[in-house]
């Protein structure tokens, strides 16, 4: 496909442009298309993609919502690495004036840069990722010591924004379609350590099946790429430890 230039742009002031390759297509197939985008101050990858849709090619599809790293909708592959694009400054990823942007890995593509995140959320639920209440709205809120070692373990993974970046980074997910993946397993670990959760044994069962935590090879890409500095790898190790213990416990 032919590169599109920025002649129509009102923003084109500085004359410096970025060489941007963007993946276009659907689950049926596609390829990279090049665009020239004006380089501007404080520009994020999401801004670059938005500029292309606003001024160069009205048919470009992508997804975002919050613009500030809270909703986890804008993740894409940037130069082959999964990233939140609303918080990725162009300067951080630019290589010789060029950058390549593709849809998030390990998920089906809907169109262009928008991936179908349903498999990711289905696995979240399969891993037992929904809280099971041990009290009702008519009961007082149970006191919980925030410094308690087990609570600290639960709190460690609580700030996950389910952006699927770890899921895209993990090669085990790529090779094993049943694998629940780092985010879902981390959620399971958080709930396992949540004193208020009522279904601890169900979690151990949910993460011990064919797609469970035992498929993880501790390759650590999840932890390396998580934009919120969370550590799913260690959470998964925790699940392995607890399931291993239960393996002996339940045999007895």
């Amino acid at each position: 496909m032919k590169p599109v230039t920025s002649q129509e742009s009102e923003l084109d002031g500085q004359g410096v442009t970025l060489d941007v390759s963007v993946w276009r297509g659907t689950s049926e197939g596609g390829g990279y298309q090049r665009f020239e985008v004006p380089a501007l101050e404080n520009q994020t990858i999401l801004d670059v993609v938005s500029w292309i849709q606003h001024y160069a090619d009205a048919t470009l599809t992508y997804r975002f919502a919050c613009r500030v790293g809270m909703c986890g909708s804008c993740a894409m592959m940037v130069n082959g690495q999964p990233r939140w694009t609303c918080r990725t400054h162009v300067k951080k990823v630019l290589k010789a004036g060029a950058v390549q942007i593709g849809p998030l890995r390990n998920l089906p593509v809907i169109k262009d840069l928008a991936a179908d995140m349903d498999p990711f959320f289905d696995k979240w639920v399969t891993a037992g990722g929904a809280h099971a209440p041990s009290a009702t709205r008519d009961d007082p809120i149970p006191p919980v010591d925030p410094q308690d070692a087990i609570r600290v373990e639960a709190s460690a993974g609580i700030e996950c924004i389910n952006c699927s970046i770890c899921y895209a980074a993990c090669d085990t997910v790529a090779g094993n379609p049943d694998y629940l993946g780092p985010a879902a397993l981390q959620r399971a670990w958080t709930l396992l350590n949540d004193a208020k959760h009522d279904a601890h044994d169900q979690i151990l069962d949910a993460v011990s099946g064919v797609g469970g935590c035992h498929n993880c090879h501790s390759m650590g890409s999840c932890t390396v790429f998580c934009p919120n500095d969370l550590d799913p790898m260690s959470a998964i190790a925790g699940l392995k430890r607890e399931t291993a213990k239960s393996f002996f416990r339940r045999r007895k």
């Binding site: 082959g80 980074a169 390759m219």
Partner: protein, 112 residues
């Protein structure tokens, strides 16, 4: 491979997988050679002297090295999974294993 994944833990995984695979492919060969002890001991001896050749020695060294890598890699993995270590302890342990592999490697190199 994409630079995206070239970080220590990922490399450790690749090393573990490659070594495991190589060992699994070598093992039947090893068993096959040993079984000559029964049917034709002289072939085994032949093989052993064949194994004196430098090229074969290097290959053997490679295998033993892979075994060491795999064993220590596996122990590292299990320690990571089962021992409740903090992050700095993990890096320390990984470093220690790395050094151990290095030392044992050179040791093997001398004897073989």
């Amino acid at each position: 491979m994409k630079p995206a994944r070239a970080h220590p833990l990922w490399l450790a995984f690749v090393l573990h997988r490659v070594s495991g695979l190589a060992l699994a492919l070598f093992l039947p060969l090893h068993f096959w050679v040993l079984s000559y002890a029964l049917t034709a001991p002289e072939k085994l001896n032949q093989f052993l002297s064949f194994a004196e050749q430098p090229i074969v020695k290097i290959a053997e060294f490679g295998l033993i090295f892979l075994l060491a890598v795999h064993v220590f890699g596996g122990l590292r993995l299990m320690a990571m999974e089962w021992l409740p270590w903090s992050a700095p302890q993990k890096s320390l342990a990984a470093g220690a294993v790395g050094i151990a592999v290095l030392i044992s490697g050179t040791f093997f190199l001398q004897v073989v």
